[in-house]
């Protein structure tokens, strides 16, 4: 369905962005472990206990779990810098798939070749998803390298961070799919980025409101940030690798695999819609 030239083109186009993101991703995770070595967890727990109680509601884990070495290192997986790196990668590559090429006028010559529109979307999609996987792996390897090179208060098995890395990949997969879907229906890359950026911001606000406002908990189901809980998945092995967990008798919540399935599943549905939209639409003349 796809061909080698399309793969090569896709890789050439994203190589520098991927390299930069991987280096940063690896670096910040290694750095986090190193910085954690300077803190006494007991002091940190005392410090956190002084914060107002509503702040704890915003956090995915309790102060007690945060004030552990593993909790501190896990916090890096949803650190704004890490989120930014994965978001930049996913949205920039997703938005480039159709609207980027149309915007630059290069789609005209690509589609004049004997390649299907589906193969163009599929090739870009696979490269983008592979890039997201490489970024998540770089994050985990950064943590592993940190744990191997830095002396900490307690010894931690790096495998406990694998679910967090997987959750980070799942977020990237969803954002890439969403961006590609919007990209498939628009002619301008800036418009795609604007739409996805707006959706991103609204989702973030919705998640905060659902956590803070009593009676608005249901809003959590409308935010794609709800199944992104890397910190929660570290240290809770049962939840980390389960599709769902029973938190109270008869009360079930999604586990780590459940979170990842939701995000990756939605991302794949978005890719499917993107392919259908792009195949049916008229190709506008170069802008």
């Amino acid at each position: 369905m796809t061909n080698v030239a399309l793969w090569k083109k896709s890789l050439i186009e994203c190589r520098w962005l991927l390299l930069a993101c991987v280096v940063f991703m690896f670096g910040v995770h290694w750095l986090r472990v190193w910085i954690s070595s300077f803190f006494s967890m007991r002091d940190l727990e005392t410090m956190l206990s002084l914060l107002p109680a509503p702040i704890e509601q915003l956090l995915p884990v309790s102060y007690t779990q945060m004030a552990t070495t593993a909790g501190q290192i896990a916090a890096e997986y949803d650190d704004p810098v890490v989120l930014l790196l994965m978001t930049v990668w996913a949205i920039s590559r997703g938005s480039d798939t159709v609207s980027g090429e149309l915007n630059r006028g290069t789609m005209e010559m690509v589609l004049a070749q004997p390649v299907t529109r589906t193969s163009v979307v599929a090739t870009q999609g696979i490269v983008t998803l592979s890039g997201a996987a490489v970024l998540a792996l770089a994050a985990w390897l950064g943590t592993c390298t940190g744990l191997a090179t830095v002396t900490l208060e307690t010894k931690i098995d790096p495998r406990v961070f694998l679910p967090a890395a997987l959750n980070l990949f799942a977020l990237g997969a969803f954002l890439a799919g969403l961006s590609t879907m919007v990209s498939a229906g628009t002619n301008y890359r800036a418009r795609t980025i604007g739409i996805v950026g707006g959706f991103y911001a609204v989702s973030m606000v919705v998640k905060i409101v659902s956590r803070m406002a009593p009676g608005w908990e249901w809003l959590a189901y409308t935010s794609f940030f709800t199944p992104f809980e890397p910190q929660l998945l570290v240290g809770d092995t049962a939840r980390a690798w389960a599709m769902r967990v029973e938190t109270a008798p008869g009360v079930f919540e999604l586990g780590g695999m459940g979170y990842d399935s939701v995000l990756v599943g939605l991302g794949l549905i978005c890719y499917l819609i993107a392919g259908m939209v792009f195949v049916r639409r008229d190709l506008p003349a170069p802008l």
Binding site: L6, I12, R104, E108, M109, A112, Q113, P114, V115
Partner: protein, 292 residues
């Protein structure tokens, strides 16, 4: 017939970009499309490539539906868009590599020879650092290096200097000599007249005239000043020769065929300041687009 359209129409809301367009191109023929901006030339070419879904009508290449069987159609077509944009993140050689690998009939050696030897491009140069003309040359090289039965060139010489324009004409002639079919859209009338076998003149999305260049070359116009009475025209010229009288005794005679028979009769007329000229494509074009 290699390329064929039947009542092909494309509408965008109330705007009609192409209306009830029917034409055909024979195998091995070089056909030119002429018309001002907005005449529908690019829309027609983009519909042949399956980029646009027809509102009604159909288009086929080698018997294949251009929209529904676009993949098979693209195997038979090499296309240069009006404003060819290439990948700015690549070098010249990488662009050639892409376009010659993406299809089985691409020849890397031929594309490199065209780009480097014929067009004088530096293959190691990044596309982002190339001028518009250089990029157009590179796009031409990758388009013409592919051995397809049909070549579609949409304004291939825009942004090119006169020397390279002549090269493009020569390359189209080479394609014709190799038995390839060419559809050539351009604003440059002299260029179309030089390279094409037949020309289609478009206006506001409709086909208004089809003309073979060989026939056009036989058409002549004689302008003169009548110095006496104009005698009746011989019967043998009726239906072939058109005579029109202007102000102050100005006379225009147009003939679609051989001049030899007409010259003898002209010698008997009381004429002065006789000018004989080929009608040419420009005059034909002006009949449909004068004042635009």
């Amino acid at each position: 017939m290699y390329v064929e359209t039947h009542s092909l129409t494309k509408r965008y809301g109330s705007f009609t970009a192409l209306a009830d367009f029917s034409f055909h191109v024979n195998r091995g023929e070089v056909v030119g499309l002429l018309g001002p901006n907005g005449a529908g030339k690019t829309t027609l070419l983009r519909m042949l490539l399956g980029y646009l879904r027809p509102t009604s009508g159909s288009a086929s290449i080698d018997g294949l539906d251009c929209y529904r069987q676009s993949l098979a159609v693209h195997r038979r077509v090499s296309y240069l868009p009006g404003e060819a944009r290439l990948f700015r993140t690549m070098r010249c050689r990488e662009v050639i590599d892409f376009f010659t690998r993406v299809r089985r009939d691409g020849s890397r050696r031929r594309a490199e020879a065209l780009a480097a030897e014929r067009f004088g491009l530096d293959l190691s140069r990044p596309v982002a650092a190339m001028s518009t003309g250089m990029r157009q040359k590179l796009a031409l090289a990758v388009t013409l290096a592919v051995d397809t039965a049909l070549v579609i060139l949409d304004e291939p010489t825009s942004n090119l200097d006169p020397t390279v324009r002549a090269d493009v004409g020569a390359l189209v002639a080479e394609a014709r000599a190799a038995g390839r079919t060419v559809i050539f859209s351009s604003h440059v009338i002299s260029e179309v007249e030089q390279v094409c076998d037949r020309v289609l003149i478009l206006r506001a999305g409709t086909l208004v005239h089809t003309q073979t260049i060989a026939e056009l070359r036989r058409k002549h116009r004689i302008r003169a000043q009548l110095t006496g009475d104009f005698p009746p025209m011989p019967d043998s010229f009726n239906g072939h020769v058109a005579v029109s009288h202007g102000h102050n005794g100005h006379l225009t005679i147009e003939t679609p065929g051989e001049l030899s028979g007409l010259l003898g009769w002209l010698a008997t007329l009381p004429l002065a300041e006789v000018q004989i000229e080929s009608v040419g494509l420009q005059a034909l074009y002006d009949q449909y687009h004068s004042g635009e």
